[in-house]
């Protein structure tokens, strides 16, 4: 199913869609206030972007340095070409330890590898321990946002599923009450687990250490109580020096939630006595993306989610409408690289307003890459009389020429223009929505003029 169809589904619950839109904008707003308390914010973004440029230019060198140091720190280092190999490595470690149940903290990479269904097929119980992830796991759903996995759900829905799974009081939807129920439930799991899996936010080549950031403390509760820690890391997560963490940790939480820093920033340098640590370095399409010069920059992403929170389409269509592990603007440039056929509608799920690029802490030119993908896709489909892109990109996006102009016009007018597009019935995202009080005449005039 393509993005517009699924977006229409999301919008069929108008009240929920409105809540979603406003809540994410609120998070974006917190990011703005928080970043403004740092006078050197723009300089930090520039530094982060340049550090990552250097990382991508010398990725092989840094990976080797990282591997060497990590091994010296007594980590077992594994390499996985793809999702399947990654999953097999995890399974192998679990088998070696005769482990039937694991706890896992938030890791977008393991989602990308579909590790949970794979392990479950092999009779292993996987417990996601991030509260939002546990909620969506109970509901058999994937996360709808990379930082706020359950942002698509209202608290009564969470109350209902907790009543069913954790025997909480029926109808009690108090967030504190529900969180405490999850805390007690997951405590037991932490205390019982022999193996814990985490993702990696940053791997430091210079020291061979890696850093995991959480607010809940679930990654640490898992790994410090287990005997074995498995950390899955995308090869692009490398940074050269420990000192660079200063730059990235200042940017990450402020961009993600508006906090001045994530609550727990754990630096894993070597296993405690008698324990075992495994680090899996995963490619899964990253080297291919590296080879696509126009899209290489997308590998700089530190998964803060800011581009989602600000995106007028993401806010109004929900994470599931993208049908990819990483949704939103960054997902729309990463996913086509993994499967162009499946994700061909995603680069069109954008107004090209450029707000994503404006907030991105590592300065990825997200909207430009969306535009590039549109061209690639249109080229790929050119042989067809009625190209996929034409069918999907109804309304304004039916005219490739319009992308460029619309991007220029929308820049700096984000507050108004996306509304005028999405709510005016020109395209699917706005279908169920009311017309804005003051339609933007200038835009409509422009549209009329340019339609032919």
């Amino acid at each position: 199913m393509n993005h517009p169809t699924k977006a229409a589904e999301f919008l069929s619950d108008g009240a929920n869609a409105k809540w979603h839109d406003e809540t994410l904008w609120f998070v974006r707003d917190k990011r703005d206030s928080s970043s403004k308390t740092v006078p050197e914010w723009e300089e930090l973004r520039d530094l982060a972007s340049r550090i990552k440029d250097n990382v991508l230019d010398y990725l092989d060198t840094y990976l080797l340095e990282f591997e060497k140091n990590a091994k010296a720190n007594n980590f077992h280092v594994h390499w996985a070409k793809n999702a399947d190999e990654h999953n097999q490595i995890v399974l192998g470690i679990l088998k070696k330890h005769q482990c039937k149940a694991i706890v896992k903290s938030k890791s977008i990479l393991t989602e990308e590898c579909h590790l949970n269904p794979f392990l479950e097929k092999h009779g292993i119980e996987v417990v996601d321990t991030d509260l939002g992830e546990r909620i969506v796991q109970f509901l058999n759903q994937p996360p709808s946002h990379i930082v706020m996995p359950a942002i698509h759900l209202k608290k009564m829905a969470i109350s209902d599923i907790f009543h069913e799974k954790l025997q909480t009081e029926k109808g009690n939807d108090d967030p504190y009450y529900l969180t405490q129920a999850a805390r007690n439930h997951l405590r037991e799991k932490f205390l019982a687990a022999k193996v814990a899996i985490t993702g990696v936010n940053f791997g430091v080549a210079e020291t061979g250490e890696f850093v995991v950031c959480t607010n809940e403390g679930n990654a640490d509760m898992g790994v410090h109580l287990a005997d074995v820690h498995i950390a899955s890391m995308g090869i692009e997560k490398i940074i050269p020096k420990r000192g660079h963490l200063g730059v990235f940790l200042r940017l990450l939480a402020r961009s993600a939630t508006g906090q001045s820093i994530t609550n727990y920033n754990s630096h894993f340098r070597s296993p405690s006595a008698g324990k075992e640590m495994h680090l899996i370095l995963v490619d899964n399409g990253r080297t291919e993306q590296l080879a696509r010069e126009k899209f290489r920059n997308s590998l700089k992403c530190i998964r803060c989610g800011a581009c989602m929170n600000t995106c007028p389409i993401y806010r109004r269509s929900g994470g599931f409408s993208y049908g990819s592990t990483v949704p939103g603007p960054i997902g729309s440039i990463l996913s086509p690289g993994l499967d162009l056929q499946k994700h061909s509608s995603l680069p069109f799920a954008s107004t090209l307003c450029g707000s994503c690029s404006d907030v991105c802490p590592v300065k990825i030119n997200i909207h430009e890459q969306l535009y590039e993908w549109r061209q690639e896709i249109t080229k790929a489909q050119a042989a067809n009389a009625k190209s996929i892109s034409m069918k999907i990109a109804n309304g304004i996006f039916a005219v490739p020429f319009a992308y460029k102009i619309s991007a220029g016009m929308m820049r700096g007018a984000l507050k108004f223009l996306p509304d005028s597009i999405t709510y005016s019935g020109l395209n699917t995202w706005g279908k169920q929505r009311d017309l804005p009080e003051l339609p933007k005449e200038t835009f409509k005039q422009w549209y009329k003029k340019n339609r032919s």
Partner: protein, 193 residues
């Protein structure tokens, strides 16, 4: 060629794919000195309150412990040894019902109230997470301005585990309502000495 690829290890395959990609040679940027002049203590306190942490003195801590009649209190801080009634166990699982841990932090960061801890400050790595309430003792003159200074200060230290902790455990996963006390400590108090 195909044959060769098949026997190549995944490691070599990934590395060779990277090497075969033409790339630029952009240098690493220098990180300038972002030091902010001004009062570190005020900034640290403000940041801590924003993170929902608290500042207490020894007397307030004693009252807090008394009023809750905590059964298990552990202190790795010499100054507060008298508040404790147990020692650090050998296995972290024995900390499951720990009411309070009092530990010493190495230094704090004014811009975000993050406090740096290393393995030796925690006894067991699980300690600052598993305890119901956490108290960190920090010396007043052990504050730095920002994260750049913080990493300068950590330098080449090689503790097996290091942690920047900035407040009590928290989540906003249910409708973005902030709840304190997700999986880790439900409160974090700092004593400035």
């Amino acid at each position: 060629m195909v044959q060769k690829k098949q026997i190549m290890s995944s490691r070599d395959y990934i590395l060779s794919k990277i090497r075969n990609t033409p790339r630029n040679k952009r240098p690493l940027p220098e990180i300038p000195d972002f030091k902010v002049d001004g009062e570190l203590m005020d900034r640290f306190k403000r940041s801590l309150l924003m993170n929902k942490g608290g500042i207490v003195d020894a007397k307030q801590l004693e009252e807090f412990i008394d009023s809750h009649q905590f059964k298990k209190v552990l202190s790795l801080s010499e100054e507060f040894r008298s508040f404790a009634n147990m020692d650090i166990p050998s296995d972290a699982h024995q900390l499951a019902d720990l009411d309070m841990a009092i530990i010493s932090g190495q230094f704090g960061v004014a811009e975000n109230a993050a406090i740096w801890l290393e393995e030796r400050d925690m006894g067991l790595r699980a300690l600052p997470f598993i305890t119901e309430h956490l108290v960190i003792v920090l010396e007043k003159d052990q504050l730095v301005s920002n994260m750049h200074e913080a990493y300068e200060r950590i330098g080449k230290g090689a503790s097996g585990f290091g942690l920047f902790i900035a407040g009590p455990s928290k989540t906003a996963d249910i409708e973005q309502s902030l709840v304190i006390g997700a999986h880790g400590a439900k409160s974090m108090r700092v004593i400035l000495m």
